[in-house]
């Protein structure tokens, strides 16, 4: 960008223009050019970088999270997003990802369990293998106990998140395998106990069904038990909610989670169904992120929004944030009319087809007419004075006065050398415009600034350009001239030259040298400069 390819025909500008173009490029382009600037700007370590050391406990939590089979199946971005929301830093997340082994269906710790259900049950700890037992055994294993077994979780929600995921995964076929191995007798006992409590015929049936399984019918039994267990759990949980025995209370917490999951899944499917009737092709939904949004985005099934979720206050129930979030604002009446219409696929009648492509995409960006002013916060204590200056459109007078204000005030706060830079920049920028270069004027230079100098306008008016050529007239026709040129003029010419030369010798803004020479030399020598002023 901004390569000044049309060099001035004049010999006044002798220095090469590369440093300038590099400086301008550094502003936007890739890192290499910006390194000098970056180094200068961030030579104290940048405060915008996270400097916390890696917290080992957070990393371990994340590793456990990532090791979970259900999590393994989710896209990486959702896992990352979840961990970010939990407050982990990038380094911690990266470390956790590094530590978690690659997702292959290899069984690590719980080999004993998984002939055919490898993908579901692999885990680096026994936690998940124990959790199905917890779901079905209210008495001996309390939820608190199971949570404590989950390892060194420092926060409540981690265990719940994992519990929830564990339950989901396990209530699948994995339960069956465990049944087969060690749980069936216990299950029988539990079922009997439940039956005694409930005196429900279905329980007896279930028990009988379960008691019929035998090791000899492993495959068939596992399938049946899985189905029975799943339905059993659902049914049992419902029944338990109705009666309020003590054992169910111990149980209820766990079951509630399952229920919540079921509700969640139901509500998701509801939302999807709702959306199928409602969804509009553009899916442009108001941003407060209510139900519409989630359904519109349902294809993504984001973890970020959904399943593995924040720990609510109760610590147990999980749900999509969309459904528990703060109340959705009531929409305007016509909105509630238009929205369903659009979701049905009807187009509102007030839309017109507009072709608003740029008629001339290669049209050069015109030069700015005004100098960007210093912002109130950049001028420091002078902000009050600068901010109230009135200006009408294109009134250079007012602009000049304000600029003068800024200048004089800034002089109190800004070191002299920076001011010099400022003026040089202006002149340099003026030259850029003269050379018909890109109009993106950059202030990028290798010195950190506390005061951003305004940028000079290009020569937009030929009368001004002409006025410059006649030095005597410049002050009388000052209205025509833009302020910076005036300032440049008003400053000491030899001073300017000296300082500019100094800067250029130090490898600074070289073009300024030529430019200012050009500017100043217009007083002294003539004609050749005519070409400068063509923009």
């Amino acid at each position: 960008m901004g390569s000044q390819s049309d060099s001035p025909p004049d010999s006044v500008v002798e220095k090469p223009q590369n440093p300038v173009s590099q400086v301008t490029q550094a502003a936007v382009d890739d890192h290499q050019n910006a390194k000098a600037e970056a180094a200068k700007e961030s030579s104290p370590p940048s405060v915008f970088v996270n400097s916390e050391p890696i917290r080992e406990d957070q990393v371990q939590n994340a590793v456990k999270f990532l090791s979970h089979p259900k999590v393994r199946g989710s896209p990486v971005i959702y896992r990352r997003s979840f961990l970010e929301r939990k407050g982990l830093t990038k380094e911690e997340i990266d470390e956790a990802f590094r530590r978690v082994p690659d997702p292959t269906p290899s069984v690590t710790a719980s080999e004993s369990v998984v002939p055919n259900q490898d993908g579901q049950l692999k885990s680096s700890s026994n936690i998940q293998s124990q959790s199905p037992t917890q779901t079905l055994r209210p008495g001996p294993v309390s939820p608190a106990g199971s949570i404590s077994k989950m390892g060194t979780f420092s926060r409540f929600h981690w265990s719940h998140a994992l519990l929830a995921v564990g339950f989901l995964a396990v209530s699948g076929a994995g339960t069956a395998v465990l049944f087969k191995n060690s749980i069936i007798p216990r299950l029988k006992a539990w079922v009997r106990k439940v039956v005694l409590e409930e005196e429900e015929g279905e329980e007896v049936l279930l028990k009988e069904n379960n008691s019929k399984t035998s090791l000899a019918e492993e495959a068939a039994a596992a399938a049946k038990a899985a189905a029975a267990a799943a339905s059993d759990v659902a049914r049992t949980s419902q029944e338990m909610l109705m009666s309020k025995t003590e054992e169910k209370r111990c149980f209820e917490e766990l079951i509630n989670m399952l229920n919540a999951q079921v509700r969640e899944m139901k509500s998701m499917s509801n939302a999807i169904q709702k959306l199928e009737g409602q969804s509009n092709i553009h899916g442009r939904i108001p941003v407060e992120g209510d139900d519409y949004r989630i359904s519109q985005r349902s294809l993504r099934v984001p973890y970020a929004n959904g399943k593995i979720n924040d720990y609510p206050q109760s610590g147990i129930s999980l749900s999509l944030p969309v459904f528990v979030k703060p109340s959705v604002a009531p929409h305007p009446k016509s909105y509630t009319e238009i929205m369903p219409m659009i979701q049905r696929g009807e187009k509102p009648s007030n839309i017109t087809e507009i072709n608003y492509a740029p008629p001339n995409p290669n049209q050069p960006v015109p030069n700015p007419r005004l100098v960007p002013m210093a912002k109130p916060w950049e001028v420091g204590q002078a902000r009050n004075s600068s901010s109230n200056v009135l200006q009408s459109q294109g009134s250079n007078d007012a602009l000049y006065h304000e600029f003068q204000d800024n200048q004089s005030i800034a002089e109190n706060t800004v070191p002299r050398w920076e001011r010099r830079n400022a003026r040089i920049t202006e002149i340099e920028a003026v030259d850029e415009h003269r050379f018909g270069s890109s109009n993106v004027v950059s202030n990028g230079r290798p010195v950190p600034r506390s005061w951003v100098p305004p940028q000079p306008p290009p020569v937009a008016m030929q009368e001004a350009a002409a006025a410059i050529r006649q030095p005597k007239k410049t002050f009388s026709s000052s209205e025509q001239l833009t302020d910076n040129q005036l300032l440049a003029r008003s400053s000491d010419v030899p001073d300017e030259l000296q300082s500019i030369t100094r800067i250029s010798e130090s490898g600074g803004i070289v073009e300024a040298n030529g430019g200012s020479l050009g500017l100043n030399s217009s007083e002294i020598q003539r004609e050749e400069d005519n070409s400068y002023f063509e923009t």
Binding site: G2, T24, A27, V28, D29, A34, A38, E41, S46, V47, F48, V49, Y78, S81, E84, R85, K86, K90, N280, H282, R284, V287, E288, R297, A304, N305, P321, K325, P326, S327, A329, Y335, I338, I342, P348, N350, I351, I354, N355, Y356, A357, P358, P359, P361, V365, P366, N367, P368, P372, M373, K375, P376, W377, S387, Q391, V440, V441, G444, V452, Q455
Partner: protein, 314 residues
């Protein structure tokens, strides 16, 4: 106080950084769901009148003025494109550029106030893109958020630093010289709709969220917010630090109010304006006139008023 009626639902207002009586408004038909859009450029003196307007095929969600060119305006359009308009050219020559790279709606634009050469676009395609006016393609794409990015804001003192607010519940701080984000602020438990930097303290950033709160953070100690501003009744749509007062924040919300806060004070709410009759979606504070506020909303009205006065007063 002046009021202007737009034909479409208002989405964003921005004061011009060059002309204190110039204001641009982004509007979208049918609440921005489906339909056209229009960019209005308004003159505030003596009364609000329209200087010019540009019609778009899709809703305009946000716009920003160029900091280097007094006549350039950049609009973020719901079809994912950014359109650059030049007010010095006749409407038939406009827009002068169309930058279409986002795969989904472009929801926010912000122009660099330090180097004044580049601008950012935040999109629902989860990315933030960096552009300059002279390039037809983006300079950088920042893809890290897990959900829609609603807003991006340049740091007022550091030319390479910016922040983004996203529906993935995080705000991120980026450095254009770095490949990825440099900080992740898990700022809210719900979608973050807007963020803005403190103009007078470059380490302070405010985030506004669906959870009805505005949180003010210090990036040097970002685990705990400096302040939590509660008071809005619904999601806070936009937050803006005052260009003139160090700790003053303006915000607008779906509760139809525009509020002014001073986060350093115990009782932070210092002003509340309920002039809108629908969601207040856009708010801006003038850089050139201390205390001048503008707001727009889905009630198709644009108000401009001085802090302390009633926006609806004639």
């Amino acid at each position: 106080m002046p009021v202007f009626k737009t034909p479409f639902n208002g989405y964003s207002v921005k004061f011009s950084p060059f002309y204190e009586s110039q204001l641009a408004v982004a509007t979208s038909q049918n609440f921005g769901i489906l339909g056209n859009g229009r960019v209005h450029v308004l003159q505030l003196n003596p009364t609000i009148t329209e200087i010019t307007s540009f019609d778009t095929a899709d809703g305009v969600y946000d716009l920003c003025w160029s900091e280097s060119h007094d006549s350039l305006l950049i609009a973020a359009v719901a079809d994912g494109s950014l359109k650059i308009y030049d007010l010095s050219l006749p409407p038939t020559s406009n827009p002068i550029r169309s930058l279409h790279e986002h795969a989904r709606e472009a929801h926010g634009v912000d122009f660099n106030t330090v180097r004044k050469d580049s601008f950012l676009s935040a999109s629902w395609d989860d990315t933030v893109k960096l552009w300059t006016v002279d390039r037809p393609t983006s300079v950088r794409t920042f893809k890290e958020h897990g959900y829609c990015v609603y807003s991006a804001a340049w740091n007022p003192r550091h030319a390479d630093i910016f922040a983004s607010a996203s529906g993935d519940f995080t705000a991120r701080i980026w450095d254009v010289r770095e490949p990825g984000s440099t900080m992740i602020l898990p700022a809210h438990e719900f979608e973050i709709l807007s963020c803005d930097w403190n103009k007078y303290d470059d380490c302070i950033i405010a985030t506004a969220s669906v959870d009805k709160s505005i949180k003010v953070w210090d990036v040097r100690n970002y685990r705990v917010p400096v302040a939590v501003l509660n008071g809005h009744g619904y999601a806070v749509r936009k937050v803006k630090f005052s260009p003139h007062r160090m700790s003053v924040i303006a915000s607008c919300s779906y509760d139809m109010t525009v509020c002014l806060w001073d986060y350093m004070v115990e009782d932070a709410l210092i002003g509340r304006y309920d002039h809108h009759t629908e969601f207040a979606v856009g708010v801006d504070m003038s850089v050139l006139v201390d205390g001048l506020l503008a707001s727009t909303g889905w009630d198709e009205l644009v108000y401009v008023w001085q802090h302390g006065m009633d926006p609806r007063a004639p």
